[in-house]
């Protein structure tokens, strides 16, 4: 990986309270690919994901050292504009959390706060992103109904459309399918595979089969350290480290 990638992490250490959550993390996330971060619960994978868009800023007692480079800019440097950094990334959380407004306004929320006011432009954007997430046909007749009326799978796709509407380059998924039924899970996974044409995607998942289905690369984290990373097939079928072998054993058998 010689060419500069969109997200690079150098010597990242994260402490929360007196716990050392992430230890000496160094990675380059390949562009326009799906990268899965796997590992057991509490290993720090979600924390790592949250360092990418500085969502840890609001938690008390967090100490972060090292660098996270997005587009070559250290997002933890003094004077880094946090709202601008977050605009480059769409986050899809564990459960869908639609904003307390209509379907249309959910998608239009991001563009609006970033200065798009013209109704015509917003209409176009909303339609485009709802189509990109396959929701348009299902909701086009009730765009102004409350977003909480949608099924949970539809809500998750709405949240994805909402994230895409701010024009990010990166999509972050934090166990984005863990609250969904198998059909909705399948739809979201397919979307990730389609979207990697245009976006760099980083997923946190504890489902190895999901990592195998959608990702090009895998990063395995254990106790806050990167144990192994590489192409999906390599890590799952031919792991080099003993810890990785242990962890993926359940997947192979």
């Amino acid at each position: 990986m010689d060419n500069k990638s969109l997200i690079g992490v150098q010597q990242l250490n994260v402490h929360i309270g007196n716990q050392h959550i992430l230890k000496d993390i160094n990675i380059d996330i390949p562009d326009k690919k799906v990268t899965s971060i796997i590992g057991p619960s509490g290993c720090g994978k979600t924390t790592l994901l949250k360092t990418f868009n500085r969502l840890l800023d609001n938690s008390a007692d967090v100490k972060i050292t090292g660098e996270v480079l997005v587009d070559g800019e250290n997002i933890y440097a003094q004077g880094a504009e946090v709202t601008h950094i977050r605009q480059k990334m769409g986050l899809l959380s564990q459960r869908p959390y639609p904003l307390p407004m209509s379907i249309y306004d959910n998608v239009a929320y991001g563009p609006r706060i970033h200065g798009i006011r013209k109704k015509h432009d917003l209409d176009e954007l909303v339609e485009k992103q709802l189509k990109a997430t396959g929701l348009w046909e299902e909701v086009k007749d009730r765009l102004h109904a409350s977003a909480t009326r949608l099924s949970i799978g539809q809500q998750q796709r709405l949240c994805l459309a909402r994230g895409l509407a701010v024009g990010p380059e990166i999509i972050l998924g934090d166990e984005s399918t863990s609250a969904l039924d198998p059909v909705s899970t399948h739809i979201i996974e397919d979307l990730f595979v389609q979207l990697k044409e245009k976006y760099t995607i980083v997923l946190v998942t504890h489902i190895l089969r999901q990592a195998a289905r959608v990702s090009d690369n895998i990063i395995f984290i254990y106790m806050g350290k990167i144990v192994e990373m590489g192409p999906t097939h390599e890590v799952l079928h031919n792991p080099k480290e003993e810890l990785t072998k242990q962890y993926v054993k359940g997947f192979i058998t």
């Binding site: 008390a60 990334m89 459960r95 959390y97």
Partner: protein
């Protein structure tokens, strides 16, 4: 074995007696007000201001006090809300919510919550003296605002804390500033804000000590903030201290009016609280 059975029976009887006593007092209080006040409850009572000789039993009503109380409680709630919403937002969304400073502030508001309302009345009176105000609608509103701010802040604080962190993260990750995120949170808790308004209004309308020195009393409906304003609790007090039977009866009727207003507010806020927690994700 027998001893345990008697013990069970003894405490059970004790609990039943205590419950009956409490429930009984509730019905006794409401019943007394109703029994004594209902005969004097005429349409005039709630549609007319006191006429000449009202306090010796001649005609008129307590519209001045009803309107005065609504002005004072309404004004205080609006003013209190304008101060409390920023405080609750600041504690939860700018100070980190669970930090030492945030918790200290919460405790301070809990202490203020427990301070007797006469202290707020006295404090409000001092402020009025300092600014050279006389007993007036404005003075009453200031004192009662001080009284309801702790109620509003703590209620809003509790409600904001029910909003999942992920919703804030969702807004933040779209590039929203903290204030823009706060606006999303405020939208989410709209029913909760309404509950806080009702709780505050209910407390404000029934409080007597805070308006005792500050709002004054008048037989007219106030037409400006600088005129004194009658309030229901004081109207009840004045009428009940009269030796004239007719006036005393009207005192009970006034108490009935106040009780009904508070009852409606309590029931409404109960409904809102229930709806709020039902629709929470």
């Amino acid at each position: 074995m027998k001893r345990r059975k008697y013990e069970e029976l003894f405490f059970r009887v004790l609990m039943v007696l205590a419950t009956v006593f409490v429930a009984g007092s509730f019905f006794l209080i409401v019943g007394t007000i109703f029994y004594k006040g209902a005969p004097y409850m005429t349409l005039d009572m709630i549609t007319k201001t006191p006429g000449g000789g009202f306090y010796i039993g001649k005609e008129g009503g307590i519209l001045n006090a009803i309107i005065g109380s609504i002005y004072v409680a309404g004004g205080a709630t609006v003013l209190g809300l304008l101060i409390s919403i920023p405080v609750a937002i600041y504690i939860n969304m700018y100070m980190g919510g669970k930090t030492f400073l945030a918790n200290t502030l919460r405790m301070a508001f809990d202490v203020l919550f427990g301070i007797p309302s006469i202290v707020y009345g006295a404090f409000g009176f001092l402020i009025m003296v300092y600014f050279g105000l006389r007993a007036s609608l404005l003075g009453g509103i200031i004192a009662v605002t001080l009284l309801v701010i702790p109620i509003l802040v703590r209620t809003l604080d509790e409600v904001i804390r029910t909003v999942p962190f992920e919703l804030r993260d969702a807004a933040l990750s779209l590039g929203a500033t903290r204030w823009e995120t706060a606006k999303v949170v405020l939208r989410q808790i709209r029913p909760g804000i309404f509950t806080a308004i009702l709780l505050s209004f209910g407390r404000a309308i029934g409080d007597v000590a805070s308006v005792l020195f500050t709002a004054g009393f008048s037989d007219n409906i106030p037409t400006s903030l600088h005129e004194p304003a009658a309030t229901l609790p004081l109207a009840i007090f004045f009428q009940l201290s009269s030796p004239v039977e007719e006036v005393q009866g009207r005192g009970y009727a006034s108490a009935l009016v106040l009780t009904i207003i508070v009852l409606i507010i309590t029931v409404l806020s109960e409904i809102f609280i229930r709806n709020f927690f039902k629709h929470k994700i």
